[in-house]
Symmetry: C2
C-alpha cells in the first residue's frame, strides 16, 4: 500500500468516486467518523434553507399540507426501507433509536406474551441494554440474558423461553458483523422474534430485512445515511406483524385518524402505529438529501469498496505503525466486519486527539479503542493511506504526549 | 372597537410592540395560529444556518463539544424553565410532548405505587388520553377516570386511590384555563401527584410551576415559544422528586455518565434522567431564538395584552358577525381562558378555508370549531379588528360556500 500509483489507480477506477462531490468535506481533513456523524450533503443544506425560510417562515401552518410535512415520516421511511431491504410500508422515520428500541421490543413482547426472556448482547451499544432495563422495570418477571464476551454465544442463549432477541448487525466498537438471515433463523427456530439494531450498518451494506424474515428493525439516520446531527431514527416492522402489533407509546401520530381528535386510541393498521408524537420537521427536512444519495448508489458496490477500504487501512496501519502498540480490535476478515475498524491502544485517547489535530477525524471509545469509519461515498483509497501516514507520524514522534491532547472532552 | 383611532392608540401605547420586528410575518397576512405553529424569529433562521453550514458541515463530529450540542437539552430547558416558573435544573428539552407525558406519568406512578387510578380530562388534547391508554396496556390494573363535559369535574374525581392527575392548563379547543395552584393543591390534598400539560400556555402566561408545588410538567415549544415546526418538547420535574424518580425510557442520554458506555443503567440524579436518546440538533438549534425573545418580554405584560386582544376579538366578532351563526366556545371572561378564542359554526371548516384565503390564518378543529390564537409578541390590536372585518365580509357575502373551500385537507 505504499505504492501510491496503485492506490491512485484504485481511486481512478472507483465507480463510486462521483458521489464525493455531493458532500461538503472540510478542506485538508480526512473524515473517518461518518460512522458517528455523516457529513453534510450539499443538497441537505439547500433543503433545510427552503424548509426554514419558505416553508416555516412564509408557509407557516399551511406547510403541514402544502409542503407535505405530515407524511415526511412515511416518505423518509420508504427511502430507508428500500436501503435495508424492507417491503413497502414497513418503515417509518421518527423519534430516537432508543425510543424505537423500546417500541419494537414492546411490540415483540406483546406478540410473544407467554415468554419471559429477552436475549441481548452484553457488549452492544449500551442504550440497547438500558432500554431493556427500563422495560423490565415495568414487568419484573422479565429475564434479560446477556451474551458476554468470552461467555456463551447469543445463539446458545436462545431457547423456548425467549420472547425477543435484540441484536446489532454491526457492533459499535469492534465492527464485528452478524449474519442477519442466520441469526434470524436461529431465533425463529426457538419461536423468538428478532429486533435488529442497524445503527452501524444501514446505508453502508445490504441488509435484506424482508428476505431474512426479520421481525423488527431500528436504526439511526445520522451515521452512514448522512441525515444530520441527531436526525430522527427509523423503525421497521414486518408486514406479517401489522394489525396485531401493539406498542405503548400510543401517541396521536400513530392513530388511524389523527385529525379526528377522537378520545379513544385506534391505532393505525400499518407501520404508522409505530409513530407517537409530533416530529422535528426541520431535522426531517435536512435528512432527505442523504437518503437520495444513498439510493442512487449501488449498495453492492458500496459494500465491496467498504471491504477494500477497511482492508487497506488494516494492512497500512499494521505495517506503517508496527511496534507502536496498536492491536486490531476488529475482525481481520473483511466479510466479518462492518465498515469500521477499531484498534486498541493504552493511550488511545491522546493519540486520537493528536490525530484529529492533524486533520484525521476518528473517535475514541472507552476504555482504549481508536475507532475509524470508512464511508465509501466520500472516501478514497488515497485518503486511507494518507490517514495512516499521519497516524504513523504521531506515533513515531510521540506528539500525542503533549499536554493539550490529554484533556478529556465532555463528549467522546 | 369600530373606533379605529382608539384601536390605533392601543397599538401606539403597547409596551410589547417592539417585539414584532423580531419575527418574519408574511406580508398582508394576519397570523392567528401561533397557538399551533409560531412564526419564525429572524434570529432562528440565522442560528439554523450557522448550525447547518458551520457546525455540521465544517465542525462535523467536533461540534458535539465545540458547539456544545450535547448540553442543548439542558440549556434550552433552563430557558423554558424560567418561563414556566420552574426552579433551576428542573427542566429539559427533548423528544415530543406525547413521549414526555409517558415519562412524567410513569415517573409519577412510580412515586405513588400503591394507587391504581389516573384522572384526566375527557376532552383534553387526545394524545394525553392515548398515552394513558398505552400506560394502562402495560399495567392492566390501572383505572383511567375521565372528567367528561357535563359530568363530574376533575376535582370531584380525585380521591385517595388516585396516583396521578394529568391536566392541561389551557384546553386546546375552548381555551378554558385552569388555576395551576388550586388544582395542584386539590390533587395534593388527596395524595395524588400532578402532571401539567402546558402546551397551550407556556410562553404566553405566567405558570409558576415551582411556586404552585406542581410535580411534573410537559409542553411543546413550537406554539407560543416559536421554536419551529415540530420542535422538541420539554419536561419538568420538581426538585423534590429528583433522585427518587424513575421512568422506563431509560436511554443513554439519561445516564449519569453517558460516555462511560457502562453496561448497566445508572440514571442521572437530576432532571437529565428524563432524557432518553439522541436529540435532533438542527431543530434544537432553531429553537433558542424564540426562547430568548420570550425571556426578554415581561410575562405579566404579555398576559395583560393577551387578555385585551382576546377580549377585543370576542367583542368585535360578536358585533360585526352578529346573525351569522357564530357561537362563542371559549370562556367569556378573559381571566378564565388562555390566549385563544374558539367559535362554533356548523360550517366552520369552509368558513376557515375562506378566511385563510383572505389572509387571516386561524385553524379548524373537528367537528365545528373555528380557533384563533393571539400571540402578544407579534400581533397588534388593529390586526384583531382587521381580522374580524375580513371574517365578517366572508360571512356576509357567503363566499365560504364556493366549492374550493369545501375540500378537506389531510391535516387540519
Amino acid at each position: 500500500m505504499r505504492d501510491l500509483e496503485a492506490v491512485r489507480a484504485l481511486d481512478a477506477a472507483d465507480p463510486l468516486a462521483g458521489f464525493r462531490d455531493r458532500f461538503i468535506l472540510p478542506a485538508g481533513e480526512i473524515y473517518l467518523d461518518g460512522n458517528s456523524l455523516g457529513p453534510a450533503p450539499k443538497a441537505a443544506l439547500d433543503a433545510l434553507r427552503t424548509a426554514a425560510e419558505a416553508e416555516w417562515a412564509q408557509g407557516l401552518i399551511r406547510s403541514w399540507n402544502e409542503a407535505d410535512w405530515f407524511t415526511l415520516t412515511d416518505r423518509l421511511g420508504a427511502r430507508i426501507g428500500r436501503l435495508i431491504g424492507a417491503a413497502e410500508g414497513e418503515t417509518v422515520v421518527c423519534d430516537s433509536t432508543s425510543i424505537n428500541i423500546f417500541k419494537a421490543v414492546q411490540a415483540a413482547l406483546a406478540l410473544n406474551p407467554d415468554r419471559p426472556v429477552i436475549v441481548a448482547e452484553g457488549d452492544g451499544f449500551p442504550t440497547d441494554l438500558y432500554i431493556l432495563e427500563g422495560i423490565r422495570s415495568l414487568r419484573p418477571d422479565l429475564e434479560i440474558r446477556r451474551a458476554e464476551a468470552g461467555g456463551p454465544t447469543l445463539e446458545y442463549l436462545l431457547d423456548d423461553r425467549v420472547a425477543v432477541l435484540l441484536v446489532n448487525q454491526v457492533d459499535y466498537r469492534s465492527g464485528a458483523r452478524r449474519d442477519v438471515a442466520a441469526v434470524t433463523a436461529a431465533a425463529h427456530a426457538v419461536g423468538a422474534l428478532v429486533v435488529w439494531d442497524l445503527c452501524h450498518s444501514a446505508g453502508v451494506m445490504p441488509v435484506d430485512f424482508a428476505g431474512s424474515g426479520a421481525d423488527f428493525a431500528v436504526g439511526c439516520s445520522y451515521k452512514y445515511l448522512n441525515g444530520g446531527p441527531g436526525a430522527p431514527a427509523f423503525v421497521a416492522a414486518a408486514t406479517k406483524h401489522h394489525g396485531r402489533m401493539r406498542q405503548p407509546l400510543s401517541g396521536w401520530w400513530g392513530h388511524a385518524a389523527p385529525f379526528a381528535f377522537a378520545p379513544d386510541y385506534d391505532g393505525d393498521p400499518g407501520i404508522r402505529r409505530m409513530l407517537c408524537g409530533t416530529q422535528p420537521i426541520l431535522s426531517l427536512r435536512a435528512m432527505e438529501a442523504g437518503l437520495e444519495i444513498a439510493e442512487e448508489a449501488d449498495l453492492a458496490a458500496v459494500r465491496a469498496k467498504s471491504e477494500a477500504l477497511t482492508d487497506l487501512f488494516v494492512e497500512a496501519a499494521e505495517t506503517l505503525c508496527a511496534g507502536h502498540g496498536l492491536t486490531l480490535a476488529s475482525p481481520r476478515v473483511a466479510a466479518e466486519r462492518g465498515s469500521q475498524v477499531a484498534f486498541r491502544h493504552a493511550d488511545g485517547y491522546p493519540i486520537m486527539q493528536a490525530l484529529i489535530a492533524a486533520g484525521v477525524i476518528g473517535d475514541f471509545r472507552s476504555p482504549d479503542i481508536l475507532r475509524f469509519g470508512f464511508a465509501p461515498l466520500y472516501l478514497g483509497y488515497a485518503d486511507v493511506v494518507e490517514a495512516v501516514d499521519r497516524l504513523a507520524d504521531i506515533l513515531e514522534t510521540g506528539r500525542w504526549k503533549e499536554p493539550r491532547f490529554q484533556k478529556r472532552a465532555a463528549v467522546t
